[in-house]
């Protein structure tokens, strides 16, 4: 099942950088080597087995933009599942006005050709602002964009390639695309109940985006999912420097034990236990036994999609 995702925004706003970090294992520092995108770069990202994200990374130089809106209008904006528009937080005055105008044109094209598409706006490069100004500037921009987008619903995120905010935005985007989310969540809840876990997270294997979770006890940090995604992804990249991949991980102190393990062919799982007296071996065995069930779940959702 292919889902078309449009990535748009003015030239130099960071579209290709964020795509490379999330889907192509770049580290933030290396994105400085990326050149400008010419016209549209297509990439297919296999995500959770049968779900394929068809990413259209649209180069943002003016000449291309005009082209998208006029001669290629149908081709680009038809059958879109998700539109992601990237704003550079640093653009001001004239530049910003032009950017908003492009966004408006984009929206009307989407509205004509794929009315059911979901729209996400990312206010990018937040790291360039002083920390104390970030929230204010973001909420100003957000209001402006949401007002402009009416009647289309759009969700705004503040992002930066240098911290976990990028994962937060992309996790929410991807979450809306997964077909059998409900079923996955039910199974996870059952699993967590059975083994008395505090929290169970399911990650997509390549991107480490959180695709499903189950929480049984209150946790302090509301941004923990994207933080964990970021932490693990960074570690995965450092493992790849020594030409290895990590298979499993166990971290504990006197308050908790966390287990991260390779799960199904497309996922990693993380289990948090707050009772440190439950031996590791028991939890690892539970994870091992649950694997079969989730693999079956994945297969059944794939065959369902194939029938369609």
């Amino acid at each position: 099942m292919k889902k078309k995702v449009l990535l748009m925004g003015k030239s130099g706003s960071g579209k290709t950088s964020m795509r490379s970090i999330i889907f192509a294992n770049y580290i933030a520092k290396d994105t400085s080597r990326l050149g400008a995108t010419i016209d549209v770069e297509h990439s297919h990202v296999r995500f959770l087995g049968n779900l394929v994200l068809n990413l259209w990374d649209c180069g943002g130089q003016e000449a291309f933009m005009e082209n998208y809106f006029v001669s290629q209008r149908e081709n680009i904006f038809r059958n879109v599942e998700v539109l992601i528009y990237v704003f550079d937080v640093e653009s001001r005055d004239e530049e910003l006005k032009r950017d908003l105008r492009y966004y408006e044109t984009c929206l009307s094209a989407i509205y004509e050709n794929s009315p059911s598409a979901k729209v996400f706006c990312l206010i990018h490069k937040m790291d360039l602002l002083q920390e104390d100004q970030r929230d204010k500037i973001f909420s100003d921009r957000e209001n402006e964009i949401i007002n402009m987008s009416k009647p289309v619903d759009c969700s705004c995120f503040k992002t930066s390639i240098w911290d976990e905010t990028l994962y937060r935005a992309w996790s929410s985007i991807v979450y809306k695309l997964i077909p059998n989310v409900k079923e996955l969540e039910q199974s996870l809840t059952l699993f967590a109940d059975l083994m008395d876990g505090d929290e169970v997270l399911l990650f997509e294997r390549a991107t480490f985006l959180v695709i499903s979770h189950c929480q049984r006890n209150l946790q302090r940090d509301i941004h923990r999912f994207e933080k964990v995604s970021n932490i693990i992804k960074q570690f995965k990249l450092s493992c790849s420097k020594v030409a290895a991949q990590f298979q499993s991980m166990e971290v504990r102190n006197s308050n908790f034990a966390a287990f991260i393990d390779l799960f199904t062919t497309n996922t990693y799982i993380m289990v948090i236990m707050s009772d440190p007296h439950i031996p590791s071996a028991a939890t690892l065995l539970n994870i091992k036994n649950a694997r079969k069930h989730f693999e079956k779940l994945e297969r059944s959702s794939q065959s369902q999609q194939n029938k369609k």
Binding site: K29, D127, Q130, W162, D163, D198, E199, Q219, R220, D221, R224, K227, V228, I231, I232, Q234, F235, S238, C239, K241, V242, A243, A244, Q245, F246, Q247, S248, M249, E250, V251, R252, N253, S254, N255, F256, A258, I272, P276, H277, P279, S280, A281
Partner: protein
Amino acid sequence: MSFNRVEEESFSTTFDIGSLPKHYEFNEFISDEDTESDRDDLPRLVLMGLRGSGKTSIQKVVFQKMSPNETLFIGSNNSMLKDVVNNSAFVNFQICDFPGHFDFTDSEYDVQSILQGCQSLVFVIDAQDAIASALNRLHSVVTKAYKINKNIKFEVFIHKVDGLTEDTKMETQREIHQRANDDLVDSGDEQKIYISFHLTSIYDHSIFEAFSRVVQKMIPHYATLENFLNIIISTSGIEKAFLYDVKTKIYVATDSSPVDIQSYELCCDMIDVVIDLSNIYGLGENPGLMNDPAFDDQSSSLIKLNNGTILYLREVCSFLALVCILREDNFEKQRIIDYNFVILRKGIHKLFELKDKEKESIEPRKPPSYK
């Protein structure tokens, strides 16, 4: 102690390694005093270098966990910054960060007395800038400092090398090394003054590696620690063992086999993972009570890689952790490794007690106030 017995019965992987004796809180010496930054009895590390060479950024990144890209916002400082690093009994010193423009004759800074208590002088050179003026400066700093205190160890950080290619890195290092030594020969000091050079950047692990080497020279019992680690790797089938200060990711000691920068980086990244995850999930009910609630005496971690390597981390004492790299085959007898570790831990604790006693005998006027 009752739950410890339960733990052993349920075949938990955590050993009862016992808590530290009450009288023996590592940070107590320091925490009793509020004016930490003015502690003059600590070993001292001096940071110098031209304006804009990156001294303050280095200090912020290494010791205050600032993320490297945030350092863009640090302005140049016009006065001397003092900071105390006292994470554990071993990593324990005062840093003096001099402003770039300062002059030895300047009466604003008490250079004489600062350098007298100084163990290590780190001179930072911006490798992307013109190095000639930096080298002149280096020479005058080194010769003047040597006149004041003959025991100072001189370290040069050839900094901001992230912007250079591999070839220019080597080239720059050779040139700086050569010219700094030529300057010393010209002034006739080459027999007395020895300078070590390190290539560094705040955007990777090189700055932590370089600081590790600087700090190791300041640790009085380094040889003993190294020997401890040699013993544990040979008895437990471990390939490489580091004793880390988890706060700064400086390694306080390692066994005597050569350090491979990649395994050092991997261990650093492992510590990041452990601390970050513990900060999210392991803070417990009252995180405010301890000075670092995420890392406690039960902290441990085990990571398996698909090439048969295992990374194993155990807490040694507040802020110190042993990180080992070993083959999966040798990890089958985890119980034996754990047992060996407990012995090592006891040994290191004894070393601390020894160090504390030394301190008392040197400073009889200032008995530590045990609670």
